[in-house]
Point group: C2
Chain length 206, copies 2
Amino acid sequence: MGRTSDAREKIVDAARALIELRGYTALGVAEICKAAGVPKGSFYYFFESKEALALAVIDEHWAGQQRAWKEALSGGSEPLTRLRRLFEVTQAAQRAGQRTCGTVSGCLFGNLTLEMSNHTEAVRVRLQEIFEAQVELVDAVIAEARARGDVAVADTREAARSVVAQLEGQVLFAKLYNDPRRLDALWANCLALLGARTPDEVPAGL
Amino acid sequence: MGRTSDAREKIVDAARALIELRGYTALGVAEICKAAGVPKGSFYYFFESKEALALAVIDEHWAGQQRAWKEALSGGSEPLTRLRRLFEVTQAAQRAGQRTCGTVSGCLFGNLTLEMSNHTEAVRVRLQEIFEAQVELVDAVIAEARARGDVAVADTREAARSVVAQLEGQVLFAKLYNDPRRLDALWANCLALLGARTPDEVPAGL
């Protein structure tokens, strides 16, 4: 039993690394099993299909990212300080990915949105749920900041969507240019999007 | 000769439609030729490889989009009015795509960035050039707006990058939710990012 659950984990880990490097479509089950070091028969013991594996990879990646986001966005500091931490965590993750894989891997969810959302409804729905959850986490912090008069937005949910969209757009460029410094602009952009009233308020491009 | 150049065009058109619908990796040369209604032998007469075809699709798509962007961003109106037109043109294109394909196809360049940029250096470089050209077109309008005192950014190039990143991020969500209305927020976001000083200045979420 210990060995079997280990094999599932190995398959998911190998698949995630391969998807980050090369995308989902190009992957074959045999290749995933080889990278995972498990016999091909194991695959269909754990997963009904390659799509089921994709969903498992998405869920596991989100479990880790959700922990990191909640940790960054919680705690005793001021709301905008916590929001800033989210961007720092994102940039650190992209830097770490670049060190490990040699290339900025971008956002797994963004990548799969563009690669898979037109093919499989199950993946599309899951990715929608994850982005909604991200928006909700950011929304809560923006609402706190608004209550303190730190930001000037009417609809905090809509503002959170814009912040997450900005994050996705800049991460896409970080991937294209293989340069995590592309994410340097995120914080100033976020403050501008939120009409922030903080001492370090700066519009985009400063 | 007339027939031959017609076949090349048919291949590029069919490939573009298939890439928008299903991505690049999943495509086979035989399928592209079938959709284009040309014999498979024609393919290698025109294209050295599938990658060469991808570059041709990218170039042709950019030729059309560049015309549309230049048209939107030029003319006698005020710079911010022209910039707004760019977002309207983008939204109209996504709506049209949704009517034709049944699903919002997103940005071909963003899609290929996430799907291909880690695989082929030629495609990565071409996509970088295209995004630079987009940023340059937007930069010119922002610089005009700044000269009039309409926006408050220090570095117009950096600001243009943020605007294009915002566009990419929101288009990604429009694709994920198959809903071009996701792009409604773009104009307010853009004004906020630029620290715009226009009568219709609104921060994100208004």
